[in-house]
Amino acid sequence: MYDWAETRVWASCGPTSPQKGTKDNGLEPTSYWASRLTRQTPAGAAPYTTLLRPSTPPPPRRWIPYHDYPIGTFLSGHLLSLWQASSYYPSMGFPDASKDLSSEMEVDAFRRLFPLQYFERHLSEAIRPDGRPLGKARDTTVVLGAVASANGSALVKIGSTTMLSAIKMEVMTPSLESPDEGCLAIDFHMPPICSPIVRPGRPAEAAPVLSKQLSDTISSSGIIDLKELSLVTGKAAWMAYLDVYCLDADGALFDAALLSAVAALSHLQIPAVSMNDDGKIVLMSDDDGQKQAQEPVNNEKRNLTLRSIPFSLTCILHKNYILDCVALTRQRVKELKGILEEANSTMQVE
């Protein structure tokens, strides 16, 4: 039987150098050559196929500096770091040391190299990569009043897709065709923080499309009556600027954006205003005693009455996996209505 010390010296000169993080209890051969040279495999030595893989996964790192590994030649170090780099693709969880690591790494590489087949393998089991059944939506949360300085605001999360919407009210002169109606301007923004595809100079393609879709949906659904936004017929009316910002883009953008717009509208409180001597509308405040003589245009803060509330659900059709979209949408509408009402009632309690 070879002397263990000698074997280890040979191991470090071989084409594959010892890897950091291998179980080194002094008895186990740590390289291909070492396992070949020792005729007797000592008790507890791992079989050949798993020898080349570290038994405890090193911590995930995006960049592997070459100087970090104790290597003999540059070339072997280069091969080593390339090989290990392929197993370092960002993965959320660490595979167990006891599991077969070869299949874990292949899954991750498989997901990146052949995404279509990866998803189809999941669909054939009627499940999604994150473990959801086909007809189930991600966890949805609605928080009202996220932006204190706005008249109405909401933060919506569907899974990790996050949307923040806020409504600011300004005064305008209504148009001649509709002197007793206010206006609602909806804008959807995708700032560069939300996704790696958005750059500061190059806005995302989805942003103006979603913006138009949102404003069409909200105006055609009739959720609010624009006559409620009027102040003085023919002279002053409210212009409500509804801005929806995508803070994290992870699919289902339109669903989240619509839900946050609707939630912000449900939270909107129109402030109390009065008209001053110049004919301008100003906020009613308790400090200005002399202004109490003016006629209050809007007595107290009030909420908008929402008529029919639109909700949306995005479904994807893929080859022969057809979902019953209408039934799913009905179910989802009930869920979302419940979530929105709950958020509203918690706001009122406070």
């Binding site: 300085s149 005064v171 206006c183 560069p192 212009m239 600027y241 803070l247 883009a249």
Partner: protein, 254 residues
């Protein structure tokens, strides 16, 4: 949208406008709107991992100032045409339309972008990612005063979350001069009526300053006092940032 016609109508906000003249009378005995002492900073709240789509991200909240910063990279950039053996840093600071009390345009803030770049480039080890670019994007959700220091501190946390190698965490604090008084971590009102401002960005453990910005009227003893205040505050802020990172790391281990 009914009632707009071809062009957007001109609108005005009904809220009362701020009167700068009124406040200057009271600066001798200025009482801070949130009841802090002159040398007291706002409570800081940090959280990393706010945005899933980014390599690293952080959310910071100092009183009414709320900022999200995302870091992407190191990645390839179309802008960098030439080979370079050190990495590039690309920054962008933008505001939401509802960030300021009166609705604004919400566009990029070019000046703050350049200042953020200057503050961070001294602290990042650019040699560790040659030929690639690291993008740091900041979005100010609500601007309650002292925006740029909060953006810088949040950006360094986001860089740490993304695993970009740095010499040290970068902390930033600003001080405002209101006639005779030095006020640290000013609020929006105080910034509007200030006589001068001093902003320091430093790496506390190394006791090195990456950026120093002075505007307005300052005498030498005042500058010394202001700098000392800022450096002490930066050291304390860095401790808070470190504990936030440690919490995040221990949470992910569980």
């Amino acid at each position: 949208m009914a009632g707009t016609g071809g062009t957007a109508p001109a609108t005005y906000s009904p809220s009362p406008t701020t009167h700068k003249n009124k406040t200057s009378l009271f600066q001798q005995d200025w009482v801070r709107p949130d009841g802090r002492g002159f040398h007291q900073c706002r409570p800081a709240f940090f959280r990393t991992g706010a945005v899933n789509a980014a390599s690293g991200s952080a959310y910071a909240e100092f009183g009414n100032t709320k900022v999200i910063v995302s870091v992407f990279g190191p990645r390839e950039s179309k802008k960098a045409m030439m080979y370079s053996d050190i990495g590039r840093l690309n920054c962008n600071v933008s505001y939401t339309t509802f960030a300021s009390p009166v609705r604004g345009q919400g566009s990029d803030h070019k000046e703050y972008t350049a200042m953020l770049h200057k503050a961070l480039e001294g602290a990042i080890i650019l040699e560790s990612f040659p030929k690639t670019t690291v993008d740091v994007f900041a979005l100010v959700l609500e601007s309650g005063g002292s925006d740029l220091p909060v953006v810088i501190s949040c950006a360094s946390l986001a860089l740490a979350d993304a695993g970009i190698m740095m010499y040290d965490l970068v902390a930033s604090v600003s001080v405002s001069c209101l006639s005779k008084n030095l006020v640290i971590d000013p609020v929006f009102e105080e910034e509007n009526s200030q006589d001068g401002s001093l902003m320091i960005t430093c790496m506390p453990s190394r006791y090195e300053i990456t950026q120093l910005t002075v505007t307005g009227e300052w005498s030498t003893p005042k500058i010394n006092e202001g700098m000392q205040l800022c450096l002490d505050a930066c050291a304390k802020l860095a401790k808070i940032m470190r504990s936030c990172l440690k919490e995040a790391a221990s949470d992910s281990q569980e």
